[in-house]
């Protein structure tokens, strides 16, 4: 069984918002179960179902500069590894060192 994250749109024109996640053995049943958990009351007009493994997660406070300091949230060394990757990507994008 794999974890699938589910996003839903409540009414036309509204944003796709993360609603929760579920377990399913494959994509087809994941679609059915997403419909059940976030659509059995006709409460959604659209669903996006994504295997959690396909999500690139970026939540390092050093890199996103959120409006508050949460540095305690990140174990030491986490941001240095991500920073190195981003530096490499920036180099490939030909932007050189920014700021």
């Amino acid at each position: 069984m794999q974890v699938y994250e589910v996003f839903r749109r409540e009414r036309e024109g509204g944003p796709m918002q993360h609603a929760g996640n579920l377990l399913a053995p494959d994509a087809e049943l994941a679609r059915h179960y997403a419909r059940e958990f976030y659509g059995r009351r006709q409460e959604s007009v659209r669903l996006w179902i994504v295997p959690r493994s396909a999500i690139l997660d970026l939540d390092d406070p050093d890199l996103l500069q959120p409006p508050f300091d949460r540095s305690f949230k990140k174990p030491a060394g986490y941001s240095t590894e991500i920073k190195a990757k981003l530096a490499a990507a920036r180099a490939r994008a030909g932007e050189g060192e920014v700021r």
Binding site: L23, P25, E28, L29, H32, Y33, R35, E36, F37
Partner: protein, 256 residues
Amino acid sequence: VNQFDPETTQALKHLLLATADDEFVIGYWDSEWTGIAPVLEEDVAFASLAQDEIGHAQALYQLLANLEGRGDPDTIAYGRPPEGYRHARLLDHPRTDWAFSVARRFLYDTADAARLDALAGSSYEPLAGVVAKMRREERYHLLHMHAWVERLATGGEEPRARLAAALERLWPDALCVLDGIDGDGVLAEAGVLAEPMAAIRRRWLAGLAPELARLGLPAPPAAPTGACRGPGRSDDFRWLWEQLTMVRRSDPEAVW
């Protein structure tokens, strides 16, 4: 004003009662899985399928009450002795196990789809309206049950053996879903049905044949034998009838 002659109207009433009872009884049997299905996610899905069938039964009983000019869905659904129910023999079996419920669900939903196709252009307008809604909701049933039969058939020795045994056991009774409707010929002539039941049954079986062959699953027997829709009913259905009428019978003047 009644658009049909007495004989056709009688056949239409029998068709409505039989179809409504099919939906009602399978809705009840499958609702037994609510809370105990193999996986929490599937529990919620299978409960929706059972609820849909109860909703369909309600709409069909309403058509029957309108046609007869008396009664309401509840009095029709709950107000008869076991011998008064006209569901197909396929629905006289209890829940049994997951493979059995999946096999029955698969046979029923695919047969029901063929029946709904034959009613889609019905000359009886109110029925055509209800059928149009049912066909939309049955799309998900078919998607879900084809998905399950595929997974049981290819999921290894035990799932495959259980599915095959269930289909072997259920096939003779499944044919009854598209049989046992007195006057189906008259209904076809009046355009209520696109064609008689035997033709709808052949169309249903022809539709299933490639999938059954691809998955190496048991094929149907030639034709149904014996009474398809009562009045004789199984002990299992009598147990279910005891359950579903228990509260109403406990206080006949009560309001629920």
